[in-house]
Amino acid sequence: MARVRVEPAGVEVEVPAGVSVFAAALEAGLSWPTICYGQARCTACALRIVDGHRHAEPPGPDEDGVLRQLRGRRRSSAGDSRDTRLACRLTVRGAVTVEKNGAKPIVREDSP
């Protein structure tokens, strides 16, 4: 179990070993941008690692292929392109801080 901090929402998610940041975030009741729901296809879930890089497991072949396409269509990226990862494939073995616009706790309509 590792703690992943999600900015700018400023929430923390417990991520079990072998479970993706995306799956753990949904489990924790966050809403996270996606179109394909975890199939490593749509890239909407892509995040940027801002701290704890060494705790991020390297991308597997399916994530790698999608990330390459993603880099190809971005003319310039802020910072190191290796920091961009798919939340639906990223697994971690220690504390990591990531940046993802649109990732936030679900506000229930019945809550005050």
């Binding site: 072998g18 729901y37 975890g38 199939q39």
Partner: protein
């Protein structure tokens, strides 16, 4: 010894099925290659019979799915939030896109069509249609949008499916073979490995190599241990068969005393048999049984009692290691067949399981899968999902499988030769094969 294996006469009307079996010990060769027969099987057998779709551990967590393909159909089996399993025809209700392939996980409780983004909950109910306004309202009612469901049932640690809405429930369809196999503990077993080979042979030809032991003397020298011809006493391995009306069957405990290899002691035969299987199958025996056996090598055990001493030592080992081994059963032994295409070879907390299906519409090609299962120590069940290895070329399989596969493809070749009109079966040895053909004809004759 007497064998109670008289096969039931065919109960099929005379003209209904082409190439039907009229004399139970003679199997028309066309059943193994004729396209009219294969198309009939496709429609009336594969789209109707209950059949093994997956192991429960293939889809351990909610959202996990696995695809099962048969008869040109694709079925998605999905683990639900509550732990049950549901299955659906694998197609988007919009323009038919397959929603999952192979194995995977639907995250966030959503099955998503990759084409236009339609979504469903894991239970098949529609949860989202993108830009609904362009559709005729009638196309969007919840029933129309709901994924089409396929019937499932669970038994022996597996999920079975049928594409027939009118089929009897699984328990009824499996019938007596279920109570015969339940004491073996299939539900406690986990996959050690799962491999497949593509064979140039009809699916029945392939599975029939595993439904009789008459071939052991000639086909498996490592198991007949140099005993040639009648010096390998087949009777010592036979206990008859119990053949059920539903096409399933199993071999009974040998009734005769002694070992099949002339002049060999019980102890030597038992040990060499295990050794040969250990090397020759990589499935049974495993390290566990070899370790237990090794521990008995120096013990002073009367010859006839060695097999029981082994069972006792294995039970003792299992107790110490926390392996929930079921008590030994005398109800069945050797091998069993679950109609139409699942064959098991259980042994002391292990089992080899075979599943054979046609490959596409070619009657002379099949997909042959092998599982090596074993009951693991409690709390030490493997964490990941089993991965299907292969297709593994015939020549890269362990020796005993290689010998079987090789004979199967030679049979398929011989089928087409002049004067080869029918296969001749030994009612005393090959009753399970006869019984399976009889039941196939009943399926094919049904309206």
């Amino acid at each position: 010894m007497s064998l109670d294996i008289a096969p039931t006469p065919p109960s099929t009307p005379a003209t209904a099925v082409p190439h039907r079996v009229t004399d139970p010990i003679r199997i028309p060769v066309e059943r193994y290659y004729a396209t009219d027969f294969a198309s009939l099987e496709k429609e009336k057998l594969w789209k109707r019979a209950w059949q093994l779709a997956c192991r429960l551990e293939d889809i351990p967590r909610p959202g996990d799915y696995i695809e099962y393909e048969v008869a040109g159909e694709s079925i998605l089996l999905i683990r639900q939030d509550g732990g049950s399993v549901r299955a659906f025809n694998n197609a988007c209700r919009h323009r038919a896109t397959a929603l999952g392939e192979g194995v995977g996980t639907f995250y966030g409780g959503q099955i998503v069509c990759p084409y236009h983004g339609w979504r469903w909950n894991l239970d098949g109910d529609s949860s989202y249609v993108y830009a609904r306004t362009g559709f005729d309202a009638a196309c969007l009612n919840p029933e129309a949008l709901r994924l089409r469901e396929v019937r499932t049932g669970e038994a022996l640690g597996c999920v079975f499916v049928t594409l027939d809405r009118d089929a009897p429930p699984l328990e009824e369809a499996l019938g007596d073979i279920l109570s015969v196999l339940e004491p073996i503990g299939f539900d406690r077993m986990r996959v050690r490995w799962w491999r497949h080979v593509l064979l140039d042979a009809n699916w029945k030809m392939a599975q029939e190599a595993f439904m009789e032991a008459y071939h052991v003397m000639q086909a498996h020298p490592s198991l007949s241990m140099g005993a040639a011809d009648e010096a390998y006493n087949l009777e010592a391995t036979l206990g008859g068969f119990e053949c059920f009306q539903n096409g399933s069957a199993h071999a009974l405990h040998p009734t005769g005393a002694g070992v099949p290899v002339e002049g060999m002691s019980v102890t030597d035969y038992f040990i060499q048999f295990n050794n040969a299987l250990y090397v020759g199958t990589d499935a049974y025996a495993t390290e566990r049984e070899m370790f237990v056996q090794q521990g008995l090598m120096e013990a002073d055990i009367p010859d006839e009692q060695f097999p029981m001493a082994f069972l006792g030592a294995l039970a003792e080992y299992a107790k110490g290691a926390g392996i929930p081994l079921p008590p030994p059963t005398m109800a069945t032994t050797g091998y069993a067949h679950i109609f139409p295409n699942m064959t098991v070879l259980p042994a002391y907390g292990n089992s080899i399981v075979y599943r054979v299906r046609p490959s596409g519409d070619d009657p002379e090609k099949c997909v042959f899968e092998v599982w090596a299962l074993q009951i693991p120590p409690e709390g030490e069940e493997p964490l990941g999902r089993p991965e299907l290895e292969g297709p593994i070329p015939q020549d890269n399989w362990p020796q005993i499988f290689k010998e079987d596969f090789s004979n199967v493809t030679k049979q398929q070749k011989g089928l087409h030769t002049q004067g080869m009109d029918e296969l001749v079966l030994a009612g005393g040895y090959e009753a399970m094969i006869v019984n399976n053909h009889r039941r196939i004809d009943e399926f094919l004759a049904a309206p």
